[in-house]
């Protein structure tokens, strides 16, 4: 791997003498993430490779595709959104598959550390507002400069969730209730269609002592209702126990909205709440999908199996949203 990367890097990074410390970070069979260092007489440079190995060309239907991801990250970076700089898009003759290489941004993505560690105590109170401002930056990107992405509406999203849920053939009355609720309250297509990140939450946000340093994983980016991103980041599953702080367990909706509006965009709180319910159901359906992959996949991963058992967490959260009990604080 280091030899392949070394040859690749030498072709576009002047002065690079090799590649060291290549380690695989994560990913399934169809997509990999590698961390490595580019050796250079002027100082080594940390880099990340995101790629689909050769023979794994087909991305899942929801995915924007790695080439689109690279362009989106570069546009975001150019517009001042905290984002890793894209260094290189893989070429077919390099033998690395499809994908791209970006700068490695130092910081933390593990929610429990960000929410509990003393070193982030000064940062936490500022994050919700900053996230609002960064989302405004993402939603402000000029669509004509972006690659063509899936166009999503609430109605399409509901239909996809329902299709996925029905394919599991396992009755879940609470999910049915949520599907009905969403259909009955679908606010219709957004008046303004923007770029939507699609997975803006803990794990995809690198946090440093100076705040949000990079937005990662643009795989689920699409065009649609900008309020979707604001709702998704408030889903209880991303609060990691700090349930009274709706934004990632560190801040309030008001702070998120204030940051968004200070950047010159407006918030529709009802739509945000609608998308929060949608997002809660979506994560529940994704948990069921993990269980499905555990059962039919070759890996037999106990982690995936156990994520399947987290779908009930979204059921209690849906009930708290749709049928709150008297005398219990939300």
């Amino acid at each position: 791997m280091e030899a392949l990367l070394g040859r690749c890097v030498a072709s576009w990074y002047p002065g690079a003498t090799g590649v060291i410390n290549a380690i695989r970070l994560s990913g399934g069979a169809s997509q990999e993430t590698w961390s490595f260092d580019i050796e250079h007489p002027g100082g080594n440079v940390g880099a990340i490779l995101r790629r689909a190995p050769q023979g794994y060309g087909a991305a899942p239907a929801r995915a924007a595709g790695l080439n689109a991801e690279a362009i989106l990250m570069q546009r975001a970076y150019d517009a001042g959104v905290p984002s890793p700089r894209v260094l290189h898009v893989l070429q077919p003759d390099e033998g690395l598959g499809t994908g791209f290489i970006m700068e490695r941004v130092e910081g933390e993505t593990i929610p429990r550390k960000i929410l509990r560690d003393q070193e982030f105590a000064q940062v936490r109170p500022k994050l919700a507002r900053q996230l609002g401002s960064v989302l405004a930056g993402i939603h402000g990107l000029e669509l004509s400069t972006l690659p063509e992405l899936r166009r999503m509406t609430a109605a399409k999203e509901i239909a996809e969730l329902e299709r996925d849920y029905r394919s599991f053939d396992w009755p879940r009355p609470v999910f049915e209730l949520a599907l009905r609720w969403l259909r009955d309250r679908d606010p219709g297509p957004s008046a303004e269609i923007t770029l939507v990140h699609g997975d803006f939450r803990h794990g995809n946000l690198i946090i440093g002592l100076d705040g949000l340093r990079a937005v990662l994983d643009w795989e689920l980016a699409h065009f649609g209702d900008p309020m979707e991103d604001l709702g998704w980041v408030c889903v209880n599953s991303w609060r990691f126990g700090h349930i009274d702080k709706p934004v990632g367990g560190f801040g309030s909706r008001e702070e998120l909205f204030a940051g968004y509006e200070a950047a010159g965009r407006s918030v529709d709180p009802d739509r945000v709440m609608f998308w929060e319910v949608m997002g809660t159901l979506r994560w529940g359906v994704m948990c069921c999908g993990m269980m499905q992959r555990f059962r039919i996949g070759p890996e037999h991963s106990v982690e995936r199996a156990m994520i399947g058992r987290r779908s009930s967490e979204t059921e209690i959260d849906l009930l708290r949203l749709l049928s709150p009990r008297k005398n219990v604080r939300l």
């Binding site: 009755p171 049915e176 126990g241 009930s312 209690i316």
Partner: protein, 125 residues
């Protein structure tokens, strides 16, 4: 009749061994996987303990709400269908209470430390 120890006791003994004797010797990704594995064993213990009682009560509630006698899965399928068609909703007598109770029973097995569940149990946290 199968002899003792019970499955519950056996699984708990394995989980205790892994947690107390093996986990301290493991690091990195395998330590994470081991923790998840121990969690899985503990979930199974909770399910063995709680499933029979909670599912009997769930089936009794569903039969009353739906006016149907059937297996638990079939009853849930009927309820799901009626909700999908709009024949049953949160205003239907006993439905909200039933869904709450059923969901609380699931969390008691799946994730008894989940913050929303603790809140609904009345824990001040």
């Amino acid at each position: 009749m199968q002899d003792e120890p019970t499955p519950e006791e056996l699984i708990k003994a394995v989980a205790d061994f892994l947690r107390n004797d093996i986990a301290p010797q493991i690091s990195g990704h395998h330590a994470f996987k081991l923790r998840v594995s121990i969690n899985a064993l503990e979930l199974v213990v909770r399910q063995i303990k709680l499933q029979q009682g909670s599912e009997a009560a769930e089936a009794a509630r569903l039969s009353k709400i739906l006016g149907v006698e059937a297996s638990l899965r079939e009853l849930n399928r009927v309820l799901a269908e009626r909700i999908a068609k709009g024949e049953v909703d949160l205003q239907t007598p006993d439905v909200a209470e039933h869904l709450w109770q059923t969901t609380m029973d699931k969390l008691a097995v799946d994730q008894p430390n989940y913050a929303s569940y603790r809140r609904e149990l009345g824990d001040k946290k």
